[in-house]
């Protein structure tokens, strides 16, 4: 099942890239599309941050991941490189579990 999702999503992502290069320009230059599409990554990434920090399955939980996110926020505000942000969050969670 994982394979099916991996392949379908990969083909869909490629199809979107190809569509942008291939479709008549005026279709995708519709103002509704131009103002809506850039908002989609913002809401999805924000929702991923929130749900993956504060839930397990369908349950809301507050655990070491909240501490890890707080450290990640500080790292992002300080404009740390991507890998540093991720590593700092992972290390925080690992350390909090040792306490």
């Amino acid at each position: 099942m994982i394979w099916a999702g991996v392949l379908v999503a990969s083909v869909a992502c490629y199809g979107l890239k190809l569509a942008g290069l291939s479709l008549p320009q005026r279709w995708l230059q519709d103002p509704r599309i131009q103002r809506t599409v850039p908002l989609i990554p913002i809401v999805l990434l924000a929702s991923l941050v929130a749900t993956q920090t504060f839930s397990t399955g369908q349950h809301l939980v507050l655990d070491v991941r909240a501490g890890a996110l707080a450290v990640a926020v500080v790292a992002v505000v300080l404009r740390a490189p991507f890998l540093v942000v991720v590593a700092a969050a992972a290390a925080t969670a690992a350390l909090l579990r040792l306490l």
């Binding site: 994982i2 809506t36 990554p41 990434l45 929702s47 929130a50 991941r65 992002v76 925080t92």
Partner: protein, 218 residues
């Protein structure tokens, strides 16, 4: 030519930074339960970072593979708009367009549209695309192999890594007040609906709501 060399230097810099970021993708994907081959397939075939992180993030959090795949595809929608901006610069047809499409991502678009001369735009696009593709896949492989060697990724805190990765991808898009307000609203809505729908579905709810917001607001 000096301009060529400057572009190549920037392209390599971006590719090296992305390679480091791909290490974390390989690690997170493996910790989420994807095999080495599945992880590497995503980097070779999907080749768009945010979508890859979203798919493995949703799977790792217990969401269905289809919720993850839908989220990945929705995140990939922005690449279609990049394609619109690039098509007039690249002027590619036939097989070259099929190859160029694979490289239509944030970094190549930023590098290509920053040039005044179309020849340099094309050079920046291909140089960034090729360098990034190579290092992105090497980084993914390294991260996945390293994580395979660890018996319990939770000891390394890798289960807490995806939200930090999503935050780092989100931050550059929040430099104005309106995107920040929209991001906070989306996070609140996702948390509010979470107890009532299957894992992964809150993402599709906020994507639907923001689409309605974008289409109907004046």
């Amino acid at each position: 030519m000096a301009a060529d060399r400057a572009i190549l230097r920037d392209a390599l810099g971006i590719a090296i930074a992305s390679g480091a970021y791909a290490i974390s993708f390989g690690a997170i994907s493996t910790a989420a339960g994807l095999s080495l081959l599945q992880t590497c397939t995503l980097s070779v075939v999907m080749f768009t970072g945010a979508s890859q992180f979203a798919l493995v993030g949703v799977l790792g959090a217990g969401g269905s593979v289809w919720a993850g795949a839908a989220t990945a595809a929705l995140l990939g929608s922005r690449n279609a708009l990049y394609g619109v901006r690039l098509s007039s610069l690249l002027k590619v047809g036939g097989r070259r367009r099929l190859a160029a499409a694979h490289f239509v991502i944030d970094e190549t678009t930023a590098m290509a549209i920053a040039r005044d001369d179309p020849t340099l735009s094309r050079y920046a696009f291909w140089a960034t695309g090729l360098a990034l593709f190579v290092l992105w896949n090497l980084g993914t492989l390294a991260g996945a192999l390293a994580t395979h060697a660890v018996s319990n990724p939770k000891v390394l805190g890798l289960d807490a890594a995806p939200p930090a990765a999503f935050l780092a991808l989100l931050a550059p898009r929040l430099r104005a007040r309106e995107p920040l307000a929209i991001a906070i609203a989306a996070a609140v809505v996702a948390i509010a609906v979470l107890p009532f729908v299957p894992a992964g579905v809150p993402l599709l709810v906020v994507a639907l709501l923001v689409t309605l917001f974008g289409v109907f607001r004046r």
